[in-house]
Each structure stands twice: as C-alpha cells, then as structure tokens.
C-alpha cells in the first residue's frame, strides 16, 4: 500500500518551490530598488483589518471580493484586505497627518480576493507598489508612469506598453446623460467591450443630443498612439473631458523627458480601474501575455474617506503575473543559486567548518555537505539543486578539488590561496 495523503490546496492560491520563489524574490527586490531610488519609503500594513474600517476605502467592486470572518475576541467582522492602497490611505490619513506632505510610500505584500473560479483566476495577489500622497500635479502622474516603465525594464521586460486612460474624460461624457441606470449600464458594457456595433444599436433608441451621441460613439475607438488625443479633442465639448485631455497632454510632454514615450499607449474608452480612481489611470501589458502586469492611477477622494482630504496617486505590480509573463527571462536570476557545496573527506569536520566560515566571509554562498556519501552522490545532489561548484576537501587537506556539476570539469586549487582570498569563481 502506498501512503498517499491528499493535500490539495484551495483553488486560486499557489505554493512556489525554490526556483520560482527565487524569481519572485528577485522581482520583489528589483522593484524595491527602483522604489527606493525614487525616494519612496517602505510601509508594512496589518494583515487584518476591521471590516467596517476597511470598507470605508472600498468601492462595491472590491467589497464583493473581500474575505471576511468573525473575530472571536470581539465578535466583530474582520477582513483580509483585497487591496493595499486603501490600507496605505488609512495609515497616511490617520497616523501620519502631522508629518509634512507629500508622502512617498512603498509596500509589497499579498492580498486576497474572491474570484470566479472557472478561469483559474488567482485569489491571492502578490503586489509591490507605491503611493504618492499629497500631490495633484501632472508631474506626479508622470512620475508614476516613468517609475512603472523603469520597473518593467529592471525586471527584464523588453516589449511592453503602459496604457493610459483618464477617468474624468469618461465621466465628463457619462455624467449628465439623462438616462436611467439600466440604460447607462448597457452603454458602459458596450463601451467597456469596445463593441461599437452594439453601442450604435443602443444609441438608436435613446433620447440623446447629437453631440452626446457623437461623443459616446468615439469612445470604443479612442485607443492607440498619441494621435488619440487629437481625435478625442475633436469629438468632445464638455469642460471636464477637455480638462482631462489637457492633463494627459501635460503628462505625455513630461514623459518625453524620461525618454519613455515609445512605451506609452492611450485608451480613453477604458472603464477599468477601481471605484476609487479619479483622474489618470494606467495598466502595464507585456507583449504576448493576456493580462495586465501592473495597474494604478489617481485617487483624489480616497484619503478623505479616512478623514484627511488630500490628492494622491500610486500603482502596484502584480508579481505573479510578472512571474508567469517573464518566466524564461527570469531564469538567469534563479539558476545557480548557491556557489559551493563543501564536502569534507576527513573524519574531523572542524577544518571544513573553518573553511566554510572563511569562504562565506569572502562573500561566497556555501552549504556544508553533512551527509556521508560517495562523491557521485554528492555531485548528483549538487547538480539537482543547482550548485555552481562542488568543493572537496581531501583527507590530507593539502589542496582542494573544485568540480562543476554541469559538465564535471575538475580544477585543483591551493588551500592557502583560498585562505588568502585568491579564489575566483
């Protein structure tokens, strides 16, 4: 009888074994380096929140996706955050409001969201992101996008686009439609799907002015390069949309200074983004990968919900999506993790331990082979676990043998040379 214990995971969550986990670790640290270089300071929010408090910052979209349960100590409902931005907003508004603005904060952590299971969608999302709180300028919007591009480059993305939208542009068009909610929902669904055919059909029957009709009909095709701004400007008349276009133009001009304009596309018919978004929003897409790898945007009203009104913007990378999209490119950061597996042939293990200490002080990563097994077995182990070298300290302890597990190539090394720091791997 084999002893198979069924240990299935709930759907939508994953374990990551060493190679993939090393890639995730690289993603996290590479992005954090960028965040720090732009002057963002780390913040670590709590893993649980009081549901009532958390919900102040959540729109209907995220509320429905929140994991919630009873707190036995208080009988109140508590929740795992489905998004970190409202948490940072809470902390900034309630705990940091005496400090001078603006705040530049960064975080990385995992959130949980109820998701439709049918598509194997993730319920667990690993994010690394930033929040820039207290600024409403186009310069702040541009900073977020420039950082996104820099972040994507730093993790090895080659072909990608950061796709920019503007919530206010859409609101300017949708705001004063004299229609009931059902009709507006149908219009929005057609616009979100860029379904011009259905939109035309819907508009035939709705009592709207020709100007409104024309504005609505341009939305499904307002995506692509910078020429989209001209098309949009020609189509809209309302002041809110025109102001939104002005903001976009300023941001695009600023992005030229960073030399990232080639990575930018525009989509003014994009209805995505969370309920709390207000102005410029954006999402990052890698060529050949169907889902967004990062998203963000302005949320000028969210801080106010926690009692401290100030404009803000931010974004977060989805590390799992980045991992799947860049799996092959990331191999160089995961393979050959440890430099040396150190084998001692002598009974007395003290010299080997001393050698390991020396090598680690020199900056090498070293694991001691503590099992007593033959050389081939040690070599196989080193190969399977991606050690760069197997190092054998012979019983005589007069020299060292270095073996490359990949091709079995052997080199003899003088023990004194190693102790004097002249080993070069």
């Amino acid at each position: 009888m084999s002893n198979i214990i069924e240990t299935r995971l709930p759907t939508g969550v994953k374990d990551f074994l060493p190679v993939k986990a090393a890639k995730l670790e690289f993603l996290q640290s590479a992005l954090y380096q960028i965040f720090h270089r732009w002057g963002f300071q780390p913040i670590v929010p709590a893993i649980l929140e009081d549901l009532a408090v958390l919900e102040l910052g959540l729109g209907e979209d995220l509320r429905e996706k929140t994991f919630r349960f009873d707190d036995r100590q208080t009988g109140r409902l508590v929740a795992f955050p489905p998004d970190i931005t409202p948490q940072v907003a809470r902390i900034a508004a309630t705990r940091m409001h005496d400090m001078p603005l603006p705040f530049r904060l960064c975080y990385s952590g995992r959130v949980l969201r109820h998701a439709e299971q049918r598509l194997g969608k993730d319920r667990e999302v690993f994010q690394a992101g930033v929040e820039l709180i207290g600024l409403d300028s186009a310069e702040a919007d541009a900073e977020m996008i420039a950082m996104t591009v820099e972040g994507l480059r730093s993790v090895g993305a080659q072909e990608f686009t950061v796709d920019i939208g503007q919530v206010d542009f859409l609101r300017g068009i949708l705001d004063d439609l004299d229609l009931d909610n059902h009709d507006i929902a149908l219009l929005c669904a057609a616009i979100a799907a860029k379904d011009l055919s259905s939109l035309k059909q819907l508009l035939e029957d709705l009592p709207l002015s020709d100007q409104k009709r024309e504005e609505l009909l341009t939305l499904p095709r307002l995506f692509g390069g910078p020429d989209v701004l001209d098309k949009a400007a020609a189509a809209v008349r309302n002041p809110k949309s025109l102001r939104a276009l002005e903001n976009l133009q300023q941001v695009l001009d600023l992005l030229k200074i960073y030399g990232v304009e080639d990575f930018i596309t525009l989509d003014l018919g994009e209805l995505r983004g969370f309920d709390y978004h207000t102005g410029l929003i954006f999402q990052g897409y890698l060529s050949g990968f169907g889902r967004a790898v990062c998203s963000g945007g302005r949320y000028d009203n969210l801080m106010g919900r926690y009692g401290f009104s100030t404009p803000a913007t931010g974004f977060a990378f989805n590390l799992y999506n980045l991992l799947f999209a860049l799996d092959r490119e990331l191999i160089q950061h995961a393979a050959g993790g440890t430099d040396i597996l150190l084998v001692s042939m002598a009974k007395d293990k003290m010299p080997a331990q001393r050698l390991a200490v020396t090598l680690r002080q020199q900056g090498y990563s070293v694991a001691r082979e503590m099992l007593v097994r033959d050389r081939q077995a040690s070599l196989d182990y080193a190969r399977r676990l991606h050690f760069r070298y197997l190092m054998i300290l012979p019983e005589a302890m007069d020299s060292l043998l270095l073996i490359r597990p990949g091709d079995g190539q052997e080199t003899k090394v003088d023990l004194n040379a190693v102790e004097e720091g002249r080993l070069q791997l």
Partner: protein, 220 residues
C-alpha cells in the same frame, strides 16, 4: 513570435466565412487551401497565423492571449461572459436564441404566467439570466446536443436553443414562443494584444468595419 498576429477561428462554416471576409481586406492564408488535418496555418510573409479550434474554445484561446483575435458567435460570448474586447459585429452566422415549446403546450400557454418551469439548453447561463430577469424560477437542464428531444420525452417542458431557419423545431413539433437575442459572429480581441499591437489591430478593425458596413445584411 510576438510580431505575428494570431487568429483563433471555429472550424467549419464560420471559418470559411471569416477567411472570405478577411481576404477582402488583404488578410489571407494560402496554406489553408489544403488543410488536411493541420490545426495551425501560417502566412509567414504577412506574419499571420490561424488556429482552427472548437467554437466554444475560441474565447479561451483569445482571453489567455494564445491568439490575439478570434471570431465567435455572440451566443458563445453571452454564455461564457469572458473578459474580452468585441469591437465588431461581422454580421454573418446570423441566427436567433429562442425559447421553444411543443405546439400542443403553446396553444393556451401564456409566458406571463410561467413559474417553476423546466428548461433544457446547451446555454444554461443565458437561460438562467433570461428567466431571472423576468422573475421566473427555472430549473435548467444542461444538454450537449439534440435539445429538441427534451420536450418530446418529458425531460423538460421547454427549451432554449439557437435557430436559423426554424426547420428543426418544426420537424419536431416545437414552436418558438420568445426570442431572447439575435446572434451574429463577432470579432474578439485579447486585452493586452489590443494595446501592444494596436497599429495592426486598429487597421484591421477599421478595414473590416468598412467592409462589413458596405455589405448588404444577410439574414436567415
């Protein structure tokens, strides 16, 4: 690889119709003239690739980004509710999603009085949504084919199915009582592809749009 535009097309008639339409805007694949058992066809000169898949699988290939674009019936899109762009009604493959029932039942049946009814369908989601919107409780019985059989043998009182001419319904003694939605084939696009390949895709959508607008509407 990623400089290719990849299409997922449903095997059969819709694939033919699609390629005929695409040919009018310069999107062709000579390799497809002798298909044999191949499932993937390439036009290396124009950097185009075509995959022949089951109609119900077209949205999956496109949503996951294995294909940038696809052609699929609105019925499949409504049933599956995927996260896709569907920029264009290609206006072929016309049919209707209808509620049908045996002729005998229909003679003194009033849809306004429906309650607790059993409905057989290949489209459980569409069926459920349609009746829920009317406030009617239904027990949906999912079948994979020959839906017309269900009322004849007492599996359900009514069915929800696609009809084009209505011939099959008539032959089985069924009549249409309500039309849920009119269905045509749609061009669908992956979210990321629309952004990362916007130049080629925008041009294609524009070209197809002009072609479809000019063609007279075919209805069946």
């Amino acid at each position: 690889m990623s400089d290719y535009l990849t299409f997922a097309l449903p095997k059969g008639r819709i694939m033919q119709d699609s390629m005929e339409l695409f040919a009018k805007v310069g999107v062709t694949c000579p390799e497809m003239d002798n298909p044999g058992r191949k499932l993937v066809f390439e036009n290396a000169r124009d950097k185009l690739r075509f995959m022949a898949v089951r109609a119900q699988d077209v949205p999956t290939y496109v949503e996951y980004g294995c294909a940038d674009l696809g052609v699929v019936g609105k019925d499949t899109l409504l049933e599956q509710g995927r996260d896709l762009y569907e920029p264009l009604d290609l206006k072929f493959g016309y049919c209707r999603m209808v509620v049908a029932e045996p002729k005998a039942l229909s003679q003194d049946d009033d849809p306004a009085g429906w309650s607790n009814i059993r409905v057989a369908s290949k489209y459980p989601n569409i069926t459920e949504r349609y009746f829920a919107a009317k406030g009617v409780q239904v027990e949906v019985i999912k079948l994979y084919g020959s839906i017309e059989l269900a009322p004849l043998v007492g599996l359900s009182e009514r069915i929800v199915d696609l009809v084009s001419t209505g011939g099959t319904l008539r032959e089985n003694g069924l009549v249409e009582v309500e039309t849920i939605v009119e269905v045509t084939s749609r061009l669908i696009v992956n979210r990321a592809s629309l952004k990362t390949k916007h130049r080629r895709i925008t041009k294609l959508i524009g070209d197809l749009e002009r072609e479809v607008e000019e063609a007279p509407r075919i209805s069946g």
